[in-house]
């Protein structure tokens, strides 16, 4: 079954919509769902043109497609456990919060907190991701714990903060402090990064581009060939300031 939600033109287009109801499983019982626009409760049909194609007996066979201006819609795919969501444009904050299964694909850009506290499943972002991509919540000890986030463009600051499990792969560059407070999982950055892995406890980070402002409390262990990546990399251990045992691998210039 395919559910197509096309956003309607709104009088106040800047007011955020909170739509955690938009997960495949919820459409098994129909499209009578509630979302919020600012402090007002709205039905899904007040904000979207809804088209349903085919039927489904189980949620894994449901695909939700979002079209139109969806850049201010928050929390799409929150607690999603199966099925798929395809977003044809940009998506608002907190897409895929707490997601445990299924796939979200975003053809445009994703705003901040993409895949926050994710536990499983896959998020593919074809454009850029905002700040705090694949991270956690304020004050919480663990960020993303499982699953995979792949960003084909670049990501903002604090990418994979508190990463505790799963894999985050950014094909472009990232901003300041990627992998800060990391304690597990794997972070791969094809492009450049600034101050990577500050204060990390554990986990692995691979950077194929250039590193700006390396944190001074990482200890260089060795330079070796990394077969999985087919590169020669400097391997660091850290963050020593934080009694960390994480691994940071930075491709050496010119190695392929």
């Amino acid at each position: 079954m395919r559910v197509i939600l096309e956003s309607k033109v709104r009088k106040k287009p800047n007011i955020p919509i909170e739509a955690e109801a938009i997960i495949p499983r919820n459409f098994l019982k129909g499209t009578d769902l509630l979302v919020y626009e600012g402090n007002k409760e709205r039905t899904l049909s007040e904000l979207f043109w809804i088209f349903v194609e085919g039927t489904a007996v189980s949620p894994e066979n449901i695909e939700v497609v979002l079209k139109g201006d969806t850049s201010r819609i928050k929390r799409v795919g929150e607690y999603m456990d199966t099925g798929s969501i395809l977003i044809s444009g940009d998506i608002g904050m907190h897409c895929g919060n707490f997601m445990s299964g299924g796939t979200i694909e975003i053809l445009g850009n994703a705003d901040a907190w993409l895949g926050r506290e994710m536990r499983g499943g896959t998020i593919l972002c074809r454009g850029n991701a905002g700040h705090y991509c694949a991270t956690g919540y304020r004050g919480e000890k663990k960020g993303m714990q499982g699953g995979r986030v792949e960003v084909f463009g670049s990501a903002g600051d604090f990418c994979a903060e508190y990463l505790a499990g799963g894999e985050v792969h950014v094909h472009g560059s990232v901003g300041d402090f990627p992998g800060v407070e990391m304690r597990g999982g794997q972070l791969i950055i094809d492009g450049d990064a600034t101050r990577p892995c500050a204060n990390m406890k554990d986990g692995t980070c691979v950077i194929l581009g250039r590193v700006h402002e390396m944190i001074p409390t990482f200890e260089k262990v060795e330079r070796r060939v990394i077969p999985e990546w087919n590169i020669t990399a400097d391997v660091y251990r850290g963050d020593i300031a934080n009694r960390g045992k994480g691994t940071l691998m930075v491709k050496t210039a010119g190695s392929e």
Partner: protein, 566 residues
């Protein structure tokens, strides 16, 4: 005139010796009376368990340290969120809820009076501000004196009247209710990053020992004729082998007051550890309760822990730092100049941890091994051992051996060997629970005369009606019904108004704050003592005139005058 008649109540009122009688309770204008007119609103209790309003004699719900616990825990705030509806404000938080969250949840459980366990005098205004935002319970504040410079100087001079005068002035200034000593002397040592490890070790610079502070304060307390006794958090909290310190401390306590205990020892579970390291820690609840059973002058509370994520917060700064070094989680510390300290860290009590399982067992052992329930009161040192919403489970455990056995089967294998809990058969009855959750507290806090903890004519009409039929529920077998029953009253009546019905708050609160005012002879009043004033102005960072809490911070202040020195 506002009248209510509660009909067909199954009343347990230990202070008046009533145990399960079916009776009516008449209420007029906030107090219990002999009878009411036929215009009274009728509440039919349908023979359900009806008790005086619950009293928590040691909880942390308001003030600097509690609020800092909230401030640093946005992750907890998303655990207990409710929306504004009807009379209820928004609430957030599970183990450190907002003030309204605390108040509503206590009220739903039938609690109508709370003693905030630790108020630093310098920050008392904050505590009182939060009291007014905890509107459904009458409040009392334990006032911290454990590292008070003026007190330690007077103790060193062995001057009991002067000690009493300092305490009396301070309680009056900060609108406090009772004397609290938290790790006496240790909090001052913590000002230098140190701690005291025995009650006979001297406080740096001040040259007094915890034992001297405790004994002098006990005498000063009685000289002031304060309604409550000294309220003590013993030295060496949470350290393996600390039971000896606790026993030594208990041995210091004379029997000075015919109406109540001479010492209230709080959260004793945390002070009843044998062994010497975390690896060989074991229960010494039998030793502790042997001492308590022979000393009617001491009342303690359990300090029960429950398995959950929670927050520890105490004036005991050094203890919190040691705990932090063990847990490597976030740590806050807040020393208060010339007075005390405090620390906060989050913890998770887990059944996988042998230490945690032993702690859990010790709390229950203490209650079950104390012969007289008036001497061991039920609490969790909220939120240190667990948030107070766990009280119904604690009640269930005390009333049912079967429930304990089921829990014990899920614990770390070492628990049985290192505690005596598995062998204890005792099952407490409804009356015991009524004592341990209200009557005992009222007596220990000295507020029976204020109309608390009983349902006799003249008492404040604070009443909890639980959806429990004691004639049909067997707590030993149907402990789940007991737990559920104590989680949510049918009605909670506070000062003659139904404030909570089936867990829903239906009116705005209008609590009162009790504080003590000891009348001290002019010639020894410290606010007349130039040396006291000089040192205050020189070493505090607020002026003495800006220190006292103005009356307007207690919109419904209830002053308890005492004939000190008489």
């Amino acid at each position: 005139m506002n009248e209510i008649l509660v009909k067909n109540a199954c009343v347990i009122d230990p202070i008046r010796g009533i145990n399960g009688d079916i009776m009516d309770i008449a209420i007029r204008d906030g107090r219990i009376v002999e009878s009411v007119s036929d215009r009274a609103e009728i509440i039919d209790a349908h023979r359900c368990l009806t008790l005086p309003g619950g009293i928590d004699s040691h909880t942390h719900v308001c003030g600097t340290k509690v609020n800092f616990g909230r401030y640093m825990s946005p992750e907890d705030m998303r655990a207990g969120r409710t929306r504004r509806h009807g009379r209820m404000h928004v609430t957030s938080g599970y183990y450190v809820p907002t003030t309204f969250g605390n108040s509503y949840r206590y009220s739903a459980m039938g609690y109508t009076t709370l003693l905030e366990g630790a108020m630093a005098p310098l920050e008392a205004r904050h505590t009182h501000e939060e009291f007014t935002a905890t509107p459904h319970q009458d409040m009392l504040a334990n006032t911290l004196f454990d590292g008070n410079w003026a007190v330690m100087d007077a103790v060193r001079e062995k001057n009991i009247p002067k000690t009493a005068a300092i305490v009396g002035w301070t309680l009056n200034a900060v609108k406090g209710y009772a004397i609290k000593l938290t790790n006496p002397g240790g909090t001052e040592a913590w000002g230098w990053g140190e701690d005291l490890t025995s009650i006979h070790e001297k406080v740096p610079h001040f040259e007094v020992t915890p034992s001297e502070i405790i004994t002098t304060m006990i005498r000063a307390n009685e000289l002031l004729r304060l309604p409550h006794s000294v309220h003590l958090h013993c030295n060496n909290l949470g350290k393996p082998g600390n039971y000896q310190t606790t026993l030594d401390t208990f041995d210091l306590v004379p029997d000075l007051n015919p109406d109540r205990q001479t010492l209230y020892a709080t959260h004793v579970q945390f002070h009843a550890y044998g062994g010497g390291t975390w690896r060989n820690i074991c229960s010494k609840a039998e030793d502790i309760t042997r001492s308590i059973n022979s000393k009617p002058q001491i009342v303690m509370d359990m300090g029960q822990i429950m398995f959950c994520r929670t927050m520890t917060m105490t004036a005991d700064g050094p203890m919190e730092f040691n705990l932090h070094c063990l847990h490597h989680n976030k740590w806050s510390n807040h020393d208060v100049e010339l007075e005390t300290g405090s620390g906060i860290i989050p913890v998770t009590y887990s059944k996988k941890s042998a230490v945690n399982c032993i702690m859990w067992a010790i709390g229950l052992e203490l209650a079950l091994l104390t012969k007289n329930p008036w001497q061991c009161l039920l609490e969790t040192d909220n939120p240190n051992g667990a948030p107070f919403v766990k009280y119904p489970e604690v009640i269930g455990l005390l009333m049912s051996k079967r429930y304990r056995d089921e829990e014990c089967a899920t614990l770390h294998a070492d628990t049985e060997r290192r505690t005596s809990l598995f062998a204890l058969e005792r099952e407490m009855d409804w009356h015991d629970i009524a004592v341990m959750t209200r009557a005992g507290q009222a007596k220990a806090l000295g507020i029976v005369n204020q109309g608390k903890g009983h349902l006799g004519a003249g008492a404040e009409a604070d009443i909890a009606i639980y959806p429990i039929r004691t004639d049909s529920v067997d707590p030993a077998r149907e402990y789940r019904k007991v737990v559920e029953g104590f989680q949510k009253t049918r009605f909670t009546i506070k000062r003659g108004r139904v404030v909570s019905r089936d867990g829903e708050i239906i009116v705005d609160g209008a609590n009162a704050t009790f504080w003590t005012n000891a009348l001290i002879p002019e010639d020894i009043r410290v606010d007349n003592d130039p040396e006291f004033i000089r040192r205050f102005q020189e070493f505090y960072t607020v002026r003495m005139s800006n220190y006292p809490v103005q009356d307007l911070y207690l919109p419904r202040g209830r002053r308890v005058d005492t004939e000190a020195f008489s």
